[in-house]
């Protein structure tokens, strides 16, 4: 039996990334290899402007044995998809028609209907009136709301449920497209998400830098989720340099990072430790509270910058570069600073909005903010988490952000090297 899929076809059965558009699966069976029906069908899809992904393919072992292929066809518009499907039916490809997603109206605010479909952070599609549709705003631990008029679907958080919202229940008409890690060509291919302190740091660092460059060249945003250890370890200047270089567009942090960063700018200390000499300063332990108090008296961090009080550091550069900043508070915060959002649900909503368009997330030395952000990110956003404590990294992966690449290392040398790698190359 000939299994030459290349003659005379020009199509190669490679996985095509599914991002937008409408999708339909077809199956074709019989002697589809020797009759060249399969390559012909794949060629037709491409010639008509669609793309395909072979989801399943079984080749018969004997000449008389039939073969089978299940092919996902993607097109930009429903009209184009219909045209492709209409053409392919002539060549023996028949659509697989599962049922539509089952939808019920939400019966109360702030809670999903019973038996709601609970989302993952992976690509998900729902079937609406016989058509597979991508779920927008993909996020784990949400529900799916359907807009029948526009034939769209999106993830919605539990607290955002309003009575009457059409919610997907059960598993019918819902499918998850598992993320495929690129093989070979990716700088991440040599790494896996197992937490280890024994990875070659220089190689890891170059991979991180390349991923940031790729995200930026694709027009995606880079998100930094940072903890105060960045400032304590003397890394604020490296982060400031990365922001100044245009490598960070979104910043998630808490009261502490901002406070100690501002403290360093105003007093030259972090938690009262002189950042030049590493020694305690007299009454240094008051510096962070006096910083908070001063900023509160001025009304905002922005006012402190505009007034010339703050002239350097992460927050200074972030405001100057119009970085999208979300500071989320916690129960242990002093002050807090005026920009710190103390209503957790408001903070979560702001972060949810801010992660849209993020293509790469760097999480450094903060466990709770990292887990919170990991919950919001779809699985196809690359995440690198850097922490001296392996348990932080393990917690992140254990909570479903399995796409995370973990680096167990001190943050200062990491950030110093990353800044050296990236800054100057923009």
């Amino acid at each position: 039996m000939s299994i030459d899929l290349n003659t005379p076809t020009t199509a190669t059965p490679v996985a095509t990334p599914i991002d937008s558009g409408v999708i339909e699966e077809v199956e074709v069976r019989g002697h589809i290899v020797d009759s060249l029906l399969l390559p012909k069908i794949l060629d037709r899809i491409l010639q008509m402007g669609g793309s395909f992904e072979i989801r399943e393919c079984t080749i018969g072992s004997r000449r008389v044995d039939p073969s089978y292929a299940r092919v996902a066809i993607k097109a930009k518009t429903p009209e184009l998809l219909d045209a492709i499907l209409g053409d392919l039916v002539e060549h023996g490809a028949t659509p697989i028609n599962p049922s539509d997603a089952v939808v019920v109206s939400a019966d109360m605010a702030g809670a999903f209907p019973d038996n709601f479909y609970s989302t993952t952070n992976q690509h998900t599609q729902v079937r609406i009136v016989g058509r597979w549709v991508e779920v927008a705003d993909q996020e784990m631990d949400c529900g799916i709301v359907i807009d029948h008029e526009h034939k769209t679907a999106r993830c919605v958080a539990m607290l955002d449920v309003r009575p009457g919202l059409p919610m997907v229940v059960g598993y019918a008409g819902v499918r998850v497209i598992p993320a495929e890690r690129p093989r070979g060509a990716s700088p991440f291919s040599f790494m896996n998400s197992a937490v280890s302190s024994e990875k070659p740091k220089a190689v890891s660092l170059r991979a991180v830098a390349d991923s940031i460059r790729t995200a930026r060249s694709n027009g995606q945003k880079v998100l930094l989720v940072g903890g105060p250890a960045i400032v304590h370890t003397g890394s604020a200047q490296h982060v400031a340099s990365l922001i100044r270089g245009g490598w960070i567009q979104t910043l998630f942090a808490g009261n502490a990072l901002a406070t100690h960063d501002l403290e360093q700018s105003i007093y030259g200390t972090s938690l009262g430790i002189n950042m030049q000499h590493g020694e305690s300063v007299d009454h240094g332990h008051e510096h962070h509270l006096r910083t908070i108090n001063t900023i509160r008296r001025l009304g905002s961090i922005k006012n402190a910058i505009d007034s010339g009080l703050v002239t350097s550091g992460i927050m200074f550069e972030a405001y100057r570069k119009n970085v999208d900043i979300v500071l989320a508070g916690s129960i242990r915060d002093d002050g807090p600073l005026p920009e710190v959002i103390t209503d957790m649900l408001v903070a979560q909503a702001k972060m949810r909005e801010a992660v849209k368009g993020v293509g790469f997330a760097l999480m450094i030395a903060t466990m709770l903010h990292s887990v919170a952000t990991g919950n919001l990110l779809p699985a196809w956003v690359k995440v690198v988490c850097v922490d001296i404590n392996p348990s932080t990294l393990t917690k992140l992966s254990d909570r479903g952000s399995f796409q995370t690449i973990s680096l167990v290392t001190d943050v200062e040398p990491f950030l110093r090297s990353l800044a050296a790698e990236l800054v100057g190359s923009i």
Binding site: P8, R29, G30, D34, S35, R63, P66, E90, G92
Partner: protein
């Protein structure tokens, strides 16, 4: 070099025909048909009888299905269905005007010892017009009349390899108008009726492919009847006749112009009941299941 089969035929070749008593152009379902031109009944009968006589001379046992008024194309028995051993899979015609033929063919097959196996809805399939064995493989044509889904079902049902090929020229709407197996591994074909995929399939699966020119294909040269080493085809294909003789076949040209008016010729007027000479299962044990007429 002789590619004609010298094997001794174990059984008398048997063919089904239908007298052209009610043949005529009563509708137009292919580019050849033109009701304004019509046919000459006397000449049609003369040409049909000449074909019948030629087959009888070659030792063929010809069975006849009764002609039916209002079914002008019943004369084209190749479209009755597909025969495989004792199995008869009746056609399901694409055009409503021919569907009236289906029960007559099925009834004939059932009363002559065949197991009638019906193709499931909704597939169209036009019998030996679009499905021809060459060796062990069933070559099939689709697009104008038959459908891939039907071919695939037949392949699975019979347990044979079936290779559907798209027909791309409406003048060659059935596979038997552009492709004719002569013996296992030997066939004539007109390449212009197939796209590059179909051409590639034929080239990869048939050892000796004999190309028919466009000029001779249009006079239905490929619509030939093969009986042993004899090929009966429409008159007007000297080039092909020469090629066939050079590889050991005896060529018998016949004038079948009245039937070309409806888009058919020698092959369309016959249905081989014991398996074409080119079929791998011909004269094998499968035949023993066929009841004698």
């Amino acid at each position: 070099m002789s590619l004609a089969q010298n094997r001794k035929i174990a059984m008398q070749p048997r063919i089904l025909m239908c007298p052209p008593d009610y043949y005529g152009i009563e509708y137009e379902i292919n580019p050849w048909m033109n009701r304004l031109i019509g046919t000459d009944p006397l000449e049609s009968t003369r040409q049909w009888r000449a074909l019948h006589a030629t087959l009888v001379e070659l030792g063929v046992e010809v069975s006849l299905v009764d002609p039916i008024k209002g079914l002008p194309d019943l004369v084209f028995t190749a479209n009755a269905g597909l025969i495989y051993g004792s199995i008869f899979i009746p056609s399901r015609f694409r055009h409503g005007v021919r569907r009236g033929e289906e029960p007559y063919y099925s009834s004939w097959a059932a009363t002559h010892g065949f197991d009638v196996v019906t193709l499931p809805e909704p597939h169209y399939f036009e019998g030996a017009g679009d499905a021809l064995f060459c060796g062990e493989t069933l070559f099939a044509g689709y697009r104008f009349r038959s459908e891939v889904g039907g071919h695939q079902w037949i392949g699975a049902r019979l347990g044979v390899e079936v290779l559907p090929m798209e027909l791309v020229d409406a003048r060659y709407y059935h596979l038997d108008t552009c492709f004719c197996p002569l013996a296992p591994g030997v066939a004539i074909y007109f390449s212009g009726a197939f796209d590059t995929y179909g051409q590639s399939v034929l080239a990869s699966n048939i050892e000796h492919l004999i190309e028919v020119s466009a000029e001779e294909a249009v006079s239905f040269s490929c619509n030939a009847v093969v009986v042993g080493s004899t090929v009966i085809l429409n008159d007007g294909s000297p080039e092909l006749a020469h090629k066939l003789r050079s590889i050991g076949f005896v060529v018998k040209p016949l004038r079948l112009t009245e039937f070309i008016k409806a888009g058919g010729s020698a092959k369309c007027l016959t249905l081989r009941l014991d398996g074409e000479d080119a079929a791998g299962w011909h004269a094998t044990t499968l035949n023993q299941g066929i009841a004698s007429t």
